[in-house]
């Protein structure tokens, strides 16, 4: 018998603490598979965020550094500038990256820091108990928008990838999803491309991954994948938003 698919070496043996059906686990696996395939585990430094994935450093079997809330791109900047020969990535949720960390991500992208950000967007604050995030959809019910998010009070969902794509320093920005196997395969390709571009010194790369939060959305995991497809995809369209050409 021959192994077709197994846990990548770049993940530790520790069980994920995530809720049943939470797609953080899928995204962790994709990043780890890419580290394995590019054979970069020994020279990769990951920066963990605050939020549900705060314990990411327990799961990735590479060097990891925890950052304070939203500051992962600033920490990554320092790490990469001291260790330009290393591969540096941040793994951040939408509460971390799109709210308290907005300044850090915008300026890291604008400076064209040669790092890769994995931005996990599930349209809600997970760890703190399902509050409205900047990425929450209009009409979406959360613990702090019990009647649904209203535009006149809280504005529209913030589209971080579109925002960063206009910056000169951004080399590659793509939005992907993990709501079905086809999209999971595409998501992995995008993550691999971002890491490859970092290895080539192309500049700032970010992959936004649409993710689920069955617990705080208040639905079953299988239903959550469908909810993502029907509600998030029309607002957050999976697409390449920026790809700097050769010589740029």
């Amino acid at each position: 018998m021959q192994v077709v698919a197994k846990k990548p070496d770049s993940l530790t043996d520790k069980d994920f603490h995530y809720c049943p059906g939470c797609t953080h686990g899928i995204i962790h696996r994709l990043v780890a598979e890419v580290m394995d395939e590019l054979d970069i585990r020994e020279k990769t430094i990951g920066i963990a965020p605050v939020g549900c994935s705060v314990l990411a450093y327990e799961y990735f079997d590479c060097d990891m550094q925890e950052a304070s809330h939203g500051r992962a791109p600033a920490v990554a900047t320092g790490v990469k500038r001291v260790h330009p020969d290393k591969v540096v990535f941040t793994y951040q949720g939408d509460g971390d990256l799109a709210s308290i960390g907005t300044a850090e991500i915008v300026h890291a992208a604008n400076r064209g820091e040669n790092i890769t950000t994995i931005f996990v967007n599930n349209a809600i604050y997970g760890m703190t108990g399902g509050q409205m995030a900047p990425t929450t959809l209009l009409g979406q019910k959360t613990t702090t928008s019990p009647a649904g998010r209203k535009k006149d009070i809280a504005g529209s969902p913030i589209k971080i990838s579109e925002m960063l794509a206009v910056l000169d320093g951004a080399a590659y920005i793509e939005r992907v999803s993990v709501h079905d196997v086809k999209h999971i395969i595409k998501a992995k390709k995008a993550i691999k491309k971002a890491f490859k571009m970092q290895l080539e010194g192309k500049g700032f790369t970010m992959i936004e991954v649409l993710s689920t939060c069955p617990t705080n959305w208040g639905i079953e995991p299988v239903e959550a994948l469908k909810w993502l497809e029907e509600n998030m995809i029309p607002i957050y369209k999976p697409q390449v938003l920026k790809e700097a050409g050769e010589g740029e």
Binding site: M1, Q2, V4, A5, F16, G21, H24, I26, I185, P221
Partner: protein, 73 residues
């Protein structure tokens, strides 16, 4: 003999019973067990190994990396 060959192996202690794998299996051999694991979850289980085509779809959607896929040489 063929029935003894395991092509899809689910780590029942890692599995949290989210059912995502049961929705993607093209040959519908994954189901949720009536037994519970030490964490209190009903893990996913395989009904008929001989029907498995080693496509790896369950591995790809599993959020807990609880599945290993094999194929015959």
């Amino acid at each position: 003999m063929l029935a003894d060959i395991k092509k899809v192996v689910i780590d029942r202690e890692k599995c949290k019973g989210c059912k995502l794998c049961t929705t993607v299996c093209p040959v519908s051999i994954l189901t949720i067990s009536e037994e519970i694991n030490s964490h209190g979850y009903h893990p996913s289980e395989v009904t008929d190994q001989s029907d498995c085509i080693s496509c790896g779809q369950c591995y790809r959607i599993c959020p807990d990396v609880a599945i290993t896929i094999y194929k015959e040489d």
